[in-house]
């Protein structure tokens, strides 16, 4: 054993898991997160923070993004997948031994290169490109299947100097072969070189699965947004418990984005209690207690976007979620009222003109009940 062995054991008691939500498997992801937290492990906020990448369900629609994110995990890392909730525990058991094996592997994984990623968005684009093709601009880059030749963003070269060679021959001027950020004519502040292009989703913490939103940022102000929905969102009819879990997870996402982890954790415990089959009256009481706690939270009401956001009051939406949770717990056997969902175009309209923080909160509030399947594929 010795010191190193003890350190490895310690590390394996704090595994950080990065879940990837495949097509229409929101509940599977929720089950996975619940099982992860039950072990005292954590949900990673970014690939850099993660030890393990776990793919839930079918990700053929975003295979290249998954590979790009996988390449960003620091050594030692491990990758696994689950197809349904019954496999989760077995999968997580395998993580510990998988990470032990990964530690014996060389640090330079053969697959690593200067990957562009779906989550680590690039600040730059070629200045020469007057009519940038969105498919080329996006951070996930290589949906065209030529990732090795389209190094547009700043990926992670994983300590391999060869990663930099990938940019040879590209007409780029900035450090690392990446173009400098450009300015544009309709710049709000006259600052040059602060226009950024960033793609939110599809692999991002506290973000609805299957949604991508390509943003143009000036500093951190959103000046343009273009949505894409990766799959049709058809989901099997949810049971009352599953709806309860889904709604409480959505409310926890809003609170996590607002930066209040203790209360977000309480909502996640409520979610886990619902999935574990707790008594409905207990769930109802807990929802109402949390609702009262949030109504008393003056600081939260003050800091959340409310009136200046085109009629979207994030605080009110959060309180409404808690009220709905209480009512759902009171009448779990009432008819299944489908979760009202929001169209992707509405999301894009809502975020333009706001800073990134407000935009994230607005999206979390708007998508709490799901993103509609409104065909917005191939938006070009």
């Amino acid at each position: 054993m010795g010191v190193i062995g003890a350190m490895i054991d310690s590390a394996l008691s704090r595994v950080h898991v990065l879940p990837v939500e495949g097509a229409n498997v929101r509940l599977l992801r929720i089950h996975l997160e619940a099982a992860t937290v039950r072990r005292g492990w954590l949900i990673a906020s970014t690939p850099a923070d993660a030890d393990v990448l776990i793919v839930c369900g079918d990700v053929t629609a975003l295979q290249s993004e998954v590979d790009a994110v996988w390449a960003q995990l620091p050594w030692p890392s491990y990758r696994a997948s689950v197809e349904d909730a019954t496999q989760i525990d077995e999968c997580l058991d395998g993580v510990v031994s998988g990470l032990r094996i990964a530690r014996r592997l060389p640090r330079e994984r053969p697959s690593s290169s200067a990957e562009v990623s779906a989550i680590n968005c690039h600040a730059n684009r070629p200045q020469t490109d007057e009519h940038p093709d969105p498919m080329q601009m996006q951070d996930s880059g290589a949906r065209d299947g030529h990732r090795d030749h389209s190094q547009m963003g700043h990926g992670d070269d994983m300590d391999t100097p060869t990663g930099m060679d990938m940019d040879m021959g590209m007409a780029m001027s900035g450090p690392g072969g990446i173009a400098l950020a450009a300015g544009s004519e309709d710049d709000r502040d006259g600052l040059e070189m602060d226009e950024l292009h960033v793609c939110l989703g599809p692999i991002l913490a506290h973000w609805p699965g299957g949604l991508m939103l390509r943003l143009t940022l000036h500093g951190d102000l959103v000046t343009a947004a273009e949505p894409e929905v990766l799959w049709d969102g058809s989901c099997h009819a949810l049971t009352a418990r599953e709806r309860f879990a889904s709604l409480s997870h959505a409310a926890a996402d809003i609170l996590a984005l607002a930066g209040w982890p203790p209360i977000a954790d309480r909502l996640l415990r409520l979610r886990d209690a619902a999935l574990a089959g707790d008594d409905w009256t207990a769930l109802s009481d807990a929802s109402r207690r949390l609702g009262r706690r949030l109504r008393r939270a003056g600081m939260l009401a003050w800091t959340l976007p409310r009136s200046d956001t085109g009629g979207i009051d994030v605080y009110a939406a959060l309180l409404k979620l808690l009220i709905d949770l209480g009512e759902l717990a009171d009448h779990p056997h009432d008819g299944v009222s489908g979760l009202a969902s929001v169209s992707p175009d509405r999301l894009a309209d809502a975020v333009v003109g706001h800073d990134l923080s407000t935009a994230r909160l607005l999206i979390a509030a708007l998508t709490a009940r799901g993103v509609s399947a409104a065909a917005h594929k191939g938006h070009r």
Binding site: S45, D49, N120, P262, I263, D265, A297, T358
Partner: protein
Amino acid sequence: MTISSVVGLVMLPVAVMVLALLAAMFNAVLESRSRAGALALSVPLRESARLLGQQRRTIAGADSVLWRIGGGGLVVAAFLQVIVVPIGGFIPADLSVGVVWFNAVDVGLWALWWLLGWGANSVYSLVGGYRILAQALAYELPLMFALTAPVVAASSLRLSDVVAAQHSLWFVVWMPVATVVYLLSVVAFSSWGPFATGFGADAASGVVAELSGVDRLLVLAGRYALLVSGAAFAVPMFFGGGAGPLLPDWSWVIVKTLMLTAGMVWLRRVMPILRPQRLAEVGWVVLIPLTIVQVLVVSLIASSGAI
């Protein structure tokens, strides 16, 4: 310089890091109340072990030198802040401009946080850096006025003089506004709790979004170390230095530092993150006038010779 002061200077960073570890443990215990997982006290140690065994990431186009300076500089800034703090009879560096020294280091934190956000060449890091600067605009001037109040009362920028001036009455009693503003500013320059906007989940954890391994550990430890150093500096400024019954002076400094640190760590539990655009208004419209009035009141009392 005597042998004992050299030993003291060497031990000072160790002491700061031990207190920072205690702060992290306290935070883990608070967190365990809303999260699963036993052995909360060992969480910071296990997390450190995990990060020490992890690869440091490099990113194409990252300004690695500036990035590493920003990340590693935080703990250094914390050490620099505490060297002017009198610990009982031992004063690591009894500068005649101790308060200005502290303020200079705290302004230096602007640069460190910004380098950390800038260096990664990542949108989320950059946005985190922007936010920390926007927030700094809201708290820095109130902080400077808050630091002025004890200085005016003691008629000295030297920390030992400030402690001596509190012989009869601690400054916290008649400078409550300055004390509160100062402590909130410490939480803000440590990017902690309600002022952790640069680490926000809404920017994929902002300035640490791309950090792994020892680099991440240094930043996370640096935040706790800054909370500790800010608390340690508050002790001679507002809380009577080493004054206290029974225990020796140096241990009172440590006890008071720990209590103030615990309070600041706890703040994270009771409040969400306050967004910088909201804070700027409070900082400039409410806190600056309040702290100026505080300094005015202190000046009047001090010049009248009442204290």
